[in-house]
């Protein structure tokens, strides 16, 4: 039973446009969320995170939005660049017990930015 879901396996976007990657979760104990980016043959690289006490966190071209009541978060990349082409993983943690250190990942969304 997937606790973190990324329902779009792939996404194609024109260079310069906005990329929006979505993530849904079912476990109400999750309260810290992260996005990782992964290039082929490399490990996941941390991109941005958000705590459940916030609804938005921004870092340069990357913004993560959290809708806690809907158990939904999204990653916005503006403007998209060809170097952003990678697989993006949404991950979640809780604040106590095993959930405080175990990352629970979605299956990933492959983003292709077309020049």
């Amino acid at each position: 039973d997937q606790q973190v879901k990324q329902n779009s396996p792939s996404l194609s976007v024109q260079e310069g446009r906005i990329s929006i990657l979505n993530c849904d979760y079912t476990n109400s104990m999750f309260d810290y969320f992260l996005w990782y980016k992964k290039y082929p043959a490399e490990g996941p690289t941390f991109l941005i995170s958000i705590s459940s006490i916030k609804d938005k966190n921004e870092d340069g071209r990357f913004t993560v939005f959290l809708n806690k009541s809907a158990k939904h978060l999204s990653l916005h990349i503006v403007p998209s660049q060809p170097g952003d082409s990678a697989v993006y993983f949404c991950a979640a943690k809780g604040d106590s017990g095993a959930g405080s250190y175990q990352l629970t990942f979605g299956k990933g969304t492959k983003l292709s930015v077309i020049p």
């Binding site: 309260d31 175990q102 299956k107």
Partner: protein, 115 residues
């Protein structure tokens, strides 16, 4: 500074062989994690160390899997009598300390193929 390194990067094993996968975490990082990533899936938690203590091994799929971190630095994941279903990428991650907002930094992974 140096990131998390893993060796070997690729390993082909015949079914029934034992394998050992090595992880060198970022220097000074207290927490170390192993994850398993099957094809087309997100990483899944295997086990967690705080210094040399293995505090959680609930994700290890069977008693053929064994992990150690004897001096609180380098860690080894050992798989005995490998089976075809063990084929996956094994990712190691480390973080400065334990805490639910601590970022986990991943190594490049070891891709294991069991024939």
């Amino acid at each position: 500074g140096a990131g998390v390194s893993q060796s070997p990067r690729y390993k082909v094993a015949k079914r029934g062989q034992d394998v050992a996968l090595r992880c060198d975490p970022i220097s000074g990082h207290v927490s170390l994690f192993w994850y398993q990533q099957a094809l087309g899936q997100g990483p899944e938690f295997l086990t967690y160390f705080q210094n040399e203590a293995q505090l959680d091994k609930s994700g290890l799929p069977s008693d053929r899997f064994f992990a150690e971190r004897p001096e609180g630095s380098v860690s080894t994941l050992k798989i005995q009598r490998t089976q075809q279903e063990d084929s996956a990428v094994y990712l190691c991650a480390s973080s400065r300390r334990t805490g639910y907002q601590e970022t986990q930094y991943f190594g490049p992974g070891t891709r294991l193929l069991v024939l």
